[in-house]
């Protein structure tokens, strides 16, 4: 079955409005749409496959550093987005063709209460392993946008870890596929040493999850190279 995808023009319109409002530089795009920006703006990643996702995930580093306050809901309302709240109080903006999810790094176990981001007028969901993902985020330019995305090595390692924590088999498989795709490209570049250093510096439990993910895949070369002593 072909996976659905949000129309790129809608994704770009939303990000463009955030850029014009001066808030895009204070968030990090995470999730599958990152692959689009790697392909478009990071050397060596032109061979990545097209993005297939109806979700756009935005991570807000905490504490948020917005210079001005913008209502994200108002910013995209005329495009047809409306607010949907989960029972736990998390908020997302939904549309027939895409959803926007808002995330923040979890600060300690159990701090999973909705996090109010005044600068955007939203509540975000705390998630684990987020610091690994957003530290040293890079800025990628494409189509008039300058979008902050995770370093490819961090993105790949993070996807390996969360592929082992997913409840849904299909999402886990998608995470693993994307991790392998990004890490395979990276393994042919000088930056691979950085990926190995990052992997080596991860907590033991995280390394075990990443290793387990690769052991269950058909990428023995990546497994050997990443976990070589």
């Amino acid at each position: 079955m072909k996976e659905k995808s949000a129309p790129p023009e809608l994704v770009f319109e939303v990000l463009g409005r955030m850029q014009d409002a001066g808030v895009l530089e204070h968030v990090v795009l995470v999730g599958s749409w990152v692959m689009h920006f790697y392909r478009a703006g990071v050397a060596g990643f032109g061979s990545l496959g097209p993005v297939r996702s109806t979700d756009m995930d935005l991570m807000i580093p905490t504490p948020p550093r917005f210079v001005k306050t913008v209502s994200l809901v108002e910013l995209v309302k005329d495009l047809g987005f409306i607010v949907q709240r989960s029972r736990s109080g998390f908020m997302k903006l939904i549309h027939s063709e895409m959803d926007m999810d808002f995330l923040v790094p979890e600060r300690g176990r159990g701090s999973d209460e909705p996090y109010r981001v005044e600068g955007l007028g939203i509540t975000a969901q705390p998630i684990r392993y987020a610091d690994l993902l957003i530290e040293n985020a890079i800025r990628v330019k494409d189509g008039g946008l300058a979008v902050r995305v995770p370093e490819p090595a961090r993105f790949g390692l993070h996807k390996l870890i969360i592929s082992q924590r997913r409840r849904g088999m299909d999402k886990a498989a998608k995470d693993l596929r994307q991790a392998i795709e990004v890490l395979s490209v990276l393994s042919k570049q000088p930056a691979w040493g950085r990926a190995k250093d990052l992997c080596g510096a991860m907590p033991k439990g995280w390394r075990a999850l990443a290793r387990k993910a690769l052991e269950g895949s058909d990428s023995p070369d990546l497994l050997r190279s990443l976990f070589a002593r």
Binding site: M1, D78, L79, G80, Q84, I94, S96, E97, M169
Partner: protein, 111 residues
């Protein structure tokens, strides 16, 4: 014989549940918008407004009188949003119909 869960069906079911949830949210959002369109009438150089809407198959005109520009803008914005939501609701209904069709189970024992 034990039937193994089909992961594709799982994805489709999840998508269907999501589309149904979205449809309910957009129906609520659409109902929350003020109904009708503003009709402007100029009498001796002054603008007066009526709110035109359908009720029981008839078009009704509700007198609104003079309105401030921001009130006029609010009605115009609501009209645009209702049109946007109509398109989105149509998309969602289409998605739901497609997913239901894709999930339709073959009858056991059918040739």
């Amino acid at each position: 014989m034990r039937i193994r869960a089909n992961p594709v069906r799982g994805v489709l079911r999840e998508e269907l549940a999501n589309a149904i949830r979205k449809l309910a949210s957009f129906e609520r959002a659409s109902r929350a918008q003020p109904r009708g369109s503003l009709v402007e009438k100029r009498i001796r150089g002054r603008s007066f407004f009526y709110l035109a809407y359908r009720e029981g198959g008839k078009v009704r005109f509700e007198y609104k009188g003079k309105l401030k520009p921001e009130e006029v803008a609010r009605f115009q914005e609501a009209k645009k949003l209702r049109a946007r939501y109509r398109g989105i609701l149509a998309d969602l209904r289409h998605q739901i119909a497609y997913l239901k069709k894709a999930l339709h189970e073959r009858k056991v024992g059918a040739a």
